[in-house]
Amino acid sequence: MSETRHAPTRPLPEMSGLSGEFYGWCNQGELRFQRCTHCERWRHVPREICAHCGSFEWSWQRSSGHGRVFSWTEVVRALHPAFGNATPYAPVIVEMDEGVRVLTRVLDCAADQLRMDMPVAVEFVAASDAVRLPYFRRRDA
């Protein structure tokens, strides 16, 4: 028997249901959020119905891809084995121009360079052969 030690598997989203649809668009290089057909409110994370008006009618609408840094934490000690070699890294909340907020990371930006309200733009990064994740990069305001 082989004694090969495998690197811990990186956690990836389930490519099914509404999450699968969201990441399916990401795989095509498009950041899209649900938007209610009835009251036109954007929403994220994906939900079956609109919490404001109760409508089941919605569509995946393309985001501007632009947002601003809302909060972050710098992970110095990894608490999941898949990220053991990635520290330090900073999960970041970005507030999109459409109003929804996403949990993401900002590329090429150390935590000490992060600033509240810093403008960022989406950039897709392959996390596996099957999934591209919406990361962000600094942009000029």
Partner: protein, 387 residues
């Protein structure tokens, strides 16, 4: 109206430890604490007819079968993580006030150090929290995997909006540590903490350092609730539930998109509990605040109404939450310096204080105390108790 209709009549706790581990199963630990609480109440285990187990850590059927509770009539599990023990206090009070049960047992405990760690189960067990699927699909792929990281996002934003400082987080850690010096049962008894040591401790997930994080612990605690009428016939001085409430942030299963980013379960629950009790936060002689991490104490003090939103940092400074200060908080040392007993330890300590049995850490002449719980992505619970 639930006010003063139910009492806590028994408390129990096991020894707490880290290395080398309890040597008992989590079920055995909880049974030990349960038997201690039942005996403290002067009851026989067979008289327990209601059991509210902690989510994912036990089943009412197993407790009943092990304890010989042949007439179990009332059982439920509240999926609120660390907010469960105080939310269960309200549910137990409702049960005994309505007659659904006569004696309700609330146990909780684990091998949180030697067994599975929350830092692991939070990312490997999607079913361990109600927001688990959202975390799996939208947090974990980006490396947001564990509770200190979730809550650090809240702390960072609070620091930005209100000027809360790292030293104020440190003041919470130091206050809990000072109280632990008065509690021989605390894991951090004999290990005082100074601000320079706090600031020099390694960063885990900024702004959280090592000493901002609670102690993964092996141990268990439990309490027993009965009606006020029945409590008068029992051996211990009853502790009355004046008011109790539980609540959830909105949305409760997702942190980032909240319209009110600083709103938590307590934001809704605390006014309800104080109104039911007919008192204000200023009437409390002490508070046991669920302290999974330091900032959560500041946030809960604000949202519970002990100070206004944004003023929690100033509230905890200069000994404000230490014994002898404005509001002694976590007189046993809390999750940060006593032990992580899932919030059960906070209920047990509140009862000790109101019985006047807290020894060197007794709040003089304590009449009214508050206890809170916090769990999952900010679920909250609160009870106002009196002697």
């Amino acid at each position: 109206m639930l006010r003063d209709q139910a009492c806590i009549v028994g408390i129990g706790e096991t020894a707490v430890c880290r290395k080398p581990g309890s040597g008992l199963s989590a079920t055995a630990l909880q049974l030990k604490a349960a038997l201690a609480a039942i005996a403290d109440a002067g009851l026989e285990p067979s008289q327990i007819d209601g059991i509210l187990p902690f989510p994912n850590l036990g089943k009412s059927e197993v407790f009943a079968a092990s304890l010989g509770c042949a007439n179990l009539r009332f059982a439920a599990t509240l999926h609120m993580g660390g907010a469960m023990p105080v939310a269960a206090l309200r549910l137990a009070a409702m049960a005994v006030a309505s007659g659904a049960a006569k004696h309700v047992l609330v146990p909780g405990g684990w091998n949180g150090y030697s067994g599975a760690r929350v830092r692991e189960t939070s990312s490997t067990d999607v079913a361990s929290i109600p927001g688990g699927e959202i975390a799996r699909d939208f947090y974990l792929p980006f490396g947001l995997t564990a509770p200190p990281q979730w809550y650090a996002l809240m702390a960072r934003r609070h620091m930005h909006e209100f000027g809360t400082t790292e030293a104020q987080l440190g003041a919470v850690a130091i206050a809990m540590r000072r109280h632990a010096q008065l509690n021989p049962a605390a894991l951090m008894h004999g290990k005082p903490l100074a601000m320079d040591e706090y600031l020099a401790s390694p960063m885990i997930a900024s702004p959280y350092r090592l000493y901002d994080c609670s102690l993964e612990t092996d141990g268990a605690a439990a309490y027993v609730v009965t009606s006020a009428e029945r409590a008068r016939d029992l051996q211990r001085k009853p502790v009355y539930v004046m008011g109790a409430a539980a609540g959830q942030p909105y949305p409760a299963d997702e942190i980032c998109g909240r319209p009110d980013f600083h709103g938590i379960g307590l934001t809704h629950a605390a006014p309800e509990a104080f109104a039911m009790a007919g008192v204000t936060p200023a009437d409390a002689d002490f508070a046991q605040i669920y302290d999974c991490f330091t900032f959560e104490v500041i946030q809960q003090l604000e949202e519970a109404g002990f100070c206004r939103r944004g003023e929690g940092g100033g509230f905890v400074e200069n000994g404000g939450i230490e014994l002898g200060g404005k509001l002694p908080v976590n007189t046993h040392g809390g999750l940060l310096s006593h032990a992580h007993l899932l919030g059960l330890g906070h209920v047990v300590e509140a009862v000790r204080q109101l019985r006047g049995e807290a020894g060197a850490r007794q709040v003089p002449d304590a009449h009214i105390g508050v206890v809170t719980g916090w769990g999952d992505f900010g679920d909250g619970s609160i009870a106002v108790l009196r002697r």
